[in-house]
């Protein structure tokens, strides 16, 4: 049996990789991908937690972890749709998807 920690370590490593992707790539689409990776890592942790969750008083295991993953996926879908739309709009307007060129939101 694989202990929970293994899944969590795996999830942490993948999350950090996603984070590196977000931080170190300048292409907005690649940053989005990094975000998706992070979400996915979190999903893995949630599902693993669900597997190792103590059963409730009536003996059944609550499915909260999987429900959360369900929501995460749905929200990720929505997020990606909007974010990509923004990316497209950005490209059309400014002819770039490089975030360093889009630093207007400063003081």
């Amino acid at each position: 049996m694989i202990p929970l920690e293994h899944y969590l370590y795996l999830s942490g490593v993948v999350f950090t990789l996603g984070l590196c992707g977000v931080m170190m790539r300048r292409n907005i689409i690649m940053m989005l991908m990094g975000i998706e990776i992070m979400l996915n890592a979190a999903n893995l942790a949630l599902v693993a937690f669900n597997k190792y969750m103590p059963p409730g008083p009536d003996g059944t295991v609550p499915m909260d972890g999987q429900v959360f993953v369900f929501f995460t996926i749905a929200i990720a879908a929505a997020e990606v749709a909007v974010a990509l739309a923004i990316a497209v709009a950005l490209f059309r307007r400014l002819d770039t998807v490089n975030v360093d060129d889009v630093a207007n939101l400063r003081w």
Binding site: N27, N40, E79
Partner: protein, 203 residues
């Protein structure tokens, strides 16, 4: 057997993820990401989350990443924008620290969870029951969210009449969407940035 499978899937997941963030070509990235997600789906199966595993493949790999591909194709990134990972020592240190802390957190995991895995939780029935009873309000909320996202996407990419009439991105966008409050900002990047700065200081 289970161990082997775990190391295989987990290793695959990490490996493909690394390739995803490393590759210069976005299309390759997308493909590696699909593979990474497939490995994740395998892990989900190992964790008895069959429905989630199916959704992972269908929604993530099938739908979301296809969307990425479409957009990447549509945008036709120029070469200099296809650059890969830019290693920044500060960021690397930050990521490493974060990883360390995360590891410590996992190591310190208290008695919140049991060490023994639950058996026989793979049926989608309890998941559905939870979704439609306790989580029915968030569930409905998500449907609204999706609707909003659809509308947002449509609005964001709606071209104004002027824009449609003229050709190319050089014409001002007369408030085609809610994305740019300073409608009429010229699409030349530098000038646009200038207008944006002006807006920012005014607000």
């Amino acid at each position: 057997m289970a161990e082997l499978l775990f190391w295989l899937m987990g290793g695959g997941m990490v490996f493909f993820t690394m390739l995803t963030i490393w590759s210069r070509n976005p299309v390759h990235c997308t493909v590696f990401m699909i593979l990474s997600f497939a490995a994740t789906a395998g892990l989900f199966v190992m964790l008895d989350a069959y429905l989630i595993a199916a959704m992972e493949v269908l929604v993530y790999a099938g739908a979301i990443l296809m969307l990425f591909l479409f957009v990447i194709m549509m945008i036709e990134l120029r070469d200099e924008e296809q650059e890969g990972l830019r290693l920044n020592p500060l960021m690397l240190v930050a990521a490493a620290t974060f990883l360390l802390l995360l590891g410590r957190a996992v190591g310190d995991l208290g008695p919140v969870v049991q060490s023994q895995a639950n058996e026989m939780i793979g049926s989608p029935a309890p998941l559905a029951e939870a979704l439609f009873t306790r989580f029915v309000v968030p569930f409905e909320a998500v449907s609204l969210l999706l609707l909003g996202a659809i509308l947002g996407v449509v609005v964001l990419n709606q071209r104004s009449r002027d824009e449609r009439a003229s050709i190319g991105p050089a014409t001002p966008d007369a408030g085609g969407g809610s994305a740019a409050p300073g409608s009429g900002a010229p699409s030349v990047p530098g000038a646009g940035a200038g207008a944006g700065v002006a807006d920012g200081s005014a607000s």
